[in-house]
Amino acid sequence: MSEALHTAETETDYQRVQRSQEFQELRSRFRRFVFPMTAFFLTWYFLYALLAAYAHDFMSIRVTGTITVGLLFGLGQFVTTFAITMIYARWANRRQDAVAERLREHIEKGEVR
């Protein structure tokens, strides 16, 4: 308790904002979104790379005409990349930007208490 009082006197605006609930929520929302998403696309990418390197027979199966499983997996990487891009941009625009903007104005106008 005494330590908390001590730091409250010497801490900077940025530390005060960092400690605030609004910022903590902004940060954990951000991390809860980008970390699992990064884990997902990296796993899916390496699954694809490993299949391309080691599962030749599977990747060479013809689905229709000369379209192979490997080609569909490859095009699937494009689809997921475009999809993740749009999902993230939409999410960040809607959920994060307003909060970030409010905190930024507080700090730049020196209204942090």
Partner: protein, 556 residues
């Protein structure tokens, strides 16, 4: 007959008829038109180049879509245009794998790096890395790593220019090629010297539009010939491939030879996907927009443009295989790199070939300009202003040093390009990505997300990643000891087959050096007694997520 023609260095002889393909005069004419138009734009854009923020970051005044287009122009090098189309034409599916790695890599930049970096830094990667660590040692390490990546990338681009000259302009003498490399280098110096980041950005935007529009027209043209049926197009490539043509639509033609090449492929895949977000010239582009939100929009635009372009190269690659044929491509000067130009000639004759050739040159110019301004900023801002002068230098002096550096780097690039002309330099791009992923990315990620991360962790990670990537390349088959089993010729940089010190079996060091970079960063941090600067960390974290206190656009 064709072999003799190639040996004699005749320009663009085709296997079937050995006729001259295209007209060098048309190619040069269209390229000169590009140069004149961009020069006018660069001079107009440069009238407001006053401060360091103007020179390094274009006054932070570009919009997200503009910057996204410029990023695509910066990223889609001649290697990804000519190289990937050729690799798909000759190796089929395995060529496609490159483009996927190059594209997915942008998600790392989008989710973890772009906005946070824009909000915390000013001009260079080192601004972010040294934000809460000890300034001078970290800046020095980041600058060395930046200069190393830029140097490898630059040399690859300039050396590639020599091959392109032979292919597109019909210049075959070493002296003639050297002269063209010098002209390209001199033009680039002019653009960067006069235009700074603003001029460089406009060159990249114009080039990206021309490249994507031109190749989209070609792709539609190809697809039209196959009734817009992808399966028929692939069938055409398989048929033209003759015996073994089926392998073109299956993985493994290039990388499936042995367990070692398979592992090499995984190593390459790792370096590609983690390298992009650590490339200093890519990172620097995020400073040219006014806010973190615009940095996000830039990446969204870049991902769409780059992704669509790689889908186009898939069509162009298989289209070249089907309509030009692998034998013709292989026997043309420039080999695989000639697939896209030959396809352009097949489709649209002299004019389309001239257009595509000019775009290929514009590509080298735009990429080299982006690399040069990055290196100049890193030297002038990090090494000169902050390490040597301890930050006590007026901005005008810093920009003057940057301009002098531009000339120095330009001359170095010209000399390097002439010296490396004809050398086997493909590994330099792979090396640039490996160093970026091993030395830069771990430190960027740790410093943005790990509270405890400290100076010693940053130094261990950057120097460790840099040194391990370079050492592993030196002792790999790309430098010595790789022999073609059929012809007995050397496939390494050192042509003497008796010299063999390749103790590391993979061509790409990523699978070892990237985990090592992350590990050293963690070890260096944990083993040091240095306490993290919590006040600076709070500032960095709050700034990175809210944009508070970030550098604003300059108003003229």
């Amino acid at each position: 007959m064709t072999a003799a023609a190639v040996a004699a260095g005749l320009p663009l002889a085709t296997a079937a008829t050995s006729e001259q393909v295209g007209s060098p005069a048309v190619n040069i004419g269209i390229f000169v038109a590009f140069v004149l138009v961009t020069l006018v734009i660069v001079f107009r854009a440069s009238r407001n180049n006053k401060t360091a923020a103007d020179y390094y970051a274009a006054g932070r005044s570009f919009t997200g879509p503009q910057n996204g287009t410029a990023i695509a122009g910066d990223y889609l090098s001649a290697a990804s245009f000519l190289g990937i189309a050729g690799a798909i034409a000759l190796n089929g599916y395995d060529g496609f794998l490159y483009s996927i790695g190059f594209l997915v890599a942008w998600l790392v930049a989008l989710l973890l790096v772009a906005e946070l970096l824009r909000n915390t830094g000013r001009f260079t990667m080192a601004d972010v890395l040294s934000f809460r660590l000890r300034q001078r040692p970290v800046r020095m390490a980041a600058a060395i790593s930046t200069l190393a990546v830029v140097f490898f990338y630059l040399l690859a681009q300039m050396a590639g220019a020599g091959g392109l000259v032979a292919l597109l302009l019909g210049v075959t003498s070493t002296a003639g090629q050297g002269l063209v490399i010098a002209v390209v280098g001199a033009l680039m110096i002019l653009y960067v010297l006069v235009g700074g980041m603003k001029g460089t950005t406009w060159v990249q935007i114009i080039k990206a539009i021309l490249l994507i529009a031109g190749s989209a027209v070609m792709a539609l043209w190809v697809l039209a010939q196959f009734g817009f049926n992808l399966s028929d197009l692939l069938a055409g490539a398989v048929a033209a491939g003759g015996e073994g043509g089926e392998a073109l639509i299956e993985p493994g033609k290039q990388y499936g030879v042995s367990a070692l090449t398979q592992l090499d492929f995984i190593s390459l895949a790792l370096a590609l996907v983690l390298g992009t977000a650590g490339l200093p010239h890519v990172l620097m582009r995020f400073y040219t927009v006014p806010t973190g939100q615009e940095a996000r929009r830039s990446v969204v635009w870049a991902i769409w443009l780059i992704g669509i372009f790689y889908l186009i190269t898939l069509v162009l690659g298989y289209g070249a295989g089907a309509l030009v044929g692998p034998e013709t491509i292989r026997s043309a000067p420039g080999g695989a790199n000639s697939a896209a130009p030959l396809l352009a000639y097949e489709l649209g004759g002299v004019v389309l070939l001239g257009f595509i050739s000019a775009v290929a040159f514009a590509t080298i110019l735009a990429v080299v300009a982006g690399l040069t301004i990055t290196a100049a900023a890193s030297f002038a801002h990090d090494i000169y202003a902050n390490v040597i002068k301890h930050g006590h230098v007026n901005p005008d002096g810093e920009v003057r040093v940057a301009r002098i550096t531009v000339v120095g780097i330009g001359l170095l690039a010209i000399a390097g390009g002439i010296f490396a002309n004809g050398q086997n330099i493909a590994f330099l791009v792979a090396l640039a990505f490996a160093v970026a992923a091993s030395a830069n990315l771990p430190t960027i990620i740790y410093s943005l997300f790990w509270r405890r991360f400290n100076t010693s962790g940053a130094l261990w990670s950057m120097y460790g990643g840099l040194v391990s990537a370079i050492v592993l390349i030196v002792f790999s088959p790309v430098v010595s000891g790789k022999v073609d089993p059929v012809t007995g010729d050397s496939l390494s940089m050192i042509r003497d087959t008796a010299v063999d010190f390749a103790v590391f079996p993979l061509s790409n060091p990523g699978i070892v050096s990237i985990p090592l970079g992350f590990l050293l960063g963690a070890l260096g941090t944990v083993l040091s007694r240095e306490t993290p600067d919590l006040e600076r960390f709070a500032q960095m974290e709050v700034r990175s997520l809210t944009g508070a206190g970030s550098e604003k656009a300059t108003v003229h």
